[in-house]
Structures are given as C-alpha cells and as structure tokens.
C-alpha cells in the first residue's frame, strides 16, 4: 500500500486529504503516479496538472522522477506560505 496525502488548496479541490492505494505494478515514479491519479474523473485531472505543485516522498521534498515503492507516503501540495 502507498499512503497518499494532499494539503491546503489542493486538499480542498480534491475533497480529500489522504487515501491508501495499491501501487499499480506499472508505476515506478512520482510523475507516473501523478498521471495515474489524473486518469480519475475531474477534478483530479485539472487539479494535479498545476505545475507549481510540490511533491514529497516520506516527508522529504522529491523530484518528479523520484522512485515510488510500496510503503511510501507521497504528498502533493501547493507552494508553501508560512512564516
């Protein structure tokens, strides 16, 4: 299982903050997982198309080509605005 998390405006757009999924066997990296989620009906396709979104794997910022494996926690979120 892979733990998926969504934060802030993205969480509101998608209407969910987290979910557990079985990682499809043909998905190996972040960009593949994002594309797979975009095959769901709207708002998934457009919400995840935002090029400003950041992704973290196991709570560390990750690049789109970073590998995803079973047991990972993967998070998508908009640019941060703390401070």
């Amino acid at each position: 299982m892979v733990h998926l998390r969504y934060f802030a405006s993205l969480r509101e757009q998608l209407g969910t903050g987290e979910e557990q999924i079985e990682l499809p066997s043909n998905i190996t990296d972040i960009s593949g997982l994002t594309r797979w989620l975009q095959t769901r009906e709207e708002p998934w396709k457009s919400a995840l198309a935002d090029s400003r979104l950041h992704v973290a794997i196991n709570q560390e910022i990750a690049r789109p080509d970073a590998p995803v494996t079973d047991g990972d926690e993967v998070a998508w979120f908009p640019p941060v605005t703390g401070g």
Binding site: F7, E60, F77, V80, T81, G82, G83
Partner: protein, 141 residues
C-alpha cells in the same frame, strides 16, 4: 530547538530562557517575530488559519536550524511556529539566533526565517468579509 504549536508563545520569556541557556557564551541575540496583519493585499483579514504537514514540518524546521548552526557559530537557536486559527495581531512565528557577535546572529536569524518561508510546509488561509482565500506565495503586501 524547534516547536510547532497551536498556543501562543511569550517572546520575552523565550528570549530570557535562551539568554539563561547561553550562560555567558553569547554576546548577541537576534529575534524575528512574525505577526498576523489586519490587511493583506488590500482586504481586511478577520482570521488566518495555518495548515501544516505534521511530521514533515518538524523535519523541515530541524533541517533549517541545523543548516544555520552549520553556517554560523551559534551558541543557541530557536524556531517556534504556530498552527491553527489566528487573529490579527497574533504571533505566528518566532526565530531566535544567539552568537558571540551580532553579525552572525543577524545573518543566522534572517537565513532561518527566509528559508522557513520557502521550504517549511505551512499554508495560510485568510477569512475575509467576502469569504476565504488561500494566500499565494509573494502575495503578502
């Protein structure tokens, strides 16, 4: 040390605690306090809610503090960031850097708050008279 909390912090008490912890080693302490403003981008703000990514937030703040301690010779440092619902004039964030001399303390304090603003997973949502909106990076003016 880093802390993420819903409750308020006392800037004076935190500075005093760090002063005591320094025990004579520091010659300078620099602090930055971030506050909720009553107007942002021309609109009056009734409330601000801070969302964060529990777990990753603490890791990110610890990394920022460690990096500051690597770059500058600090005798003590502290980052406190609040989350949850805040009102105008409330404290949001406190950063303190203590060092032998002021220049290191000034630079380390500025580095920590600047890096926090672009790397720590916090998101601000404002409640305005017309409804709510997520703050965009660089939108605050």
């Amino acid at each position: 040390m880093i802390r993420v909390q819903t409750g308020d912090f006392d800037v004076g008490a935190e500075l005093e605690q760090l002063r005591r912890d320094n025990n004579g080693r520091a010659g300078a302490m620099v602090s930055f306090t971030g506050l909720v403003r009553d107007i942002n981008a021309g609109d009056s703000v009734a409330e601000m809610t801070l969302e964060h990514y529990p777990g990753m937030t603490e890791k990110a703040l610890e990394k920022i503090e460690q990096e500051a301690n690597t770059r500058w010779e600090l005798t003590a440092s502290l980052i406190i960031h609040r989350v949850g619902a805040l009102q105008p004039n409330d404290n949001i964030v406190l950063v303190i850097a203590a060092s032998k001399h002021r220049k290191q303390a000034f630079q380390a304090c500025e580095f920590m708050i600047d890096t926090l603003k672009t790397e720590a997973p916090f998101w601000k949502k404002e409640t305005l008279p017309e409804g709510t909106r997520w703050v965009e990076p660089g939108q605050c003016r």
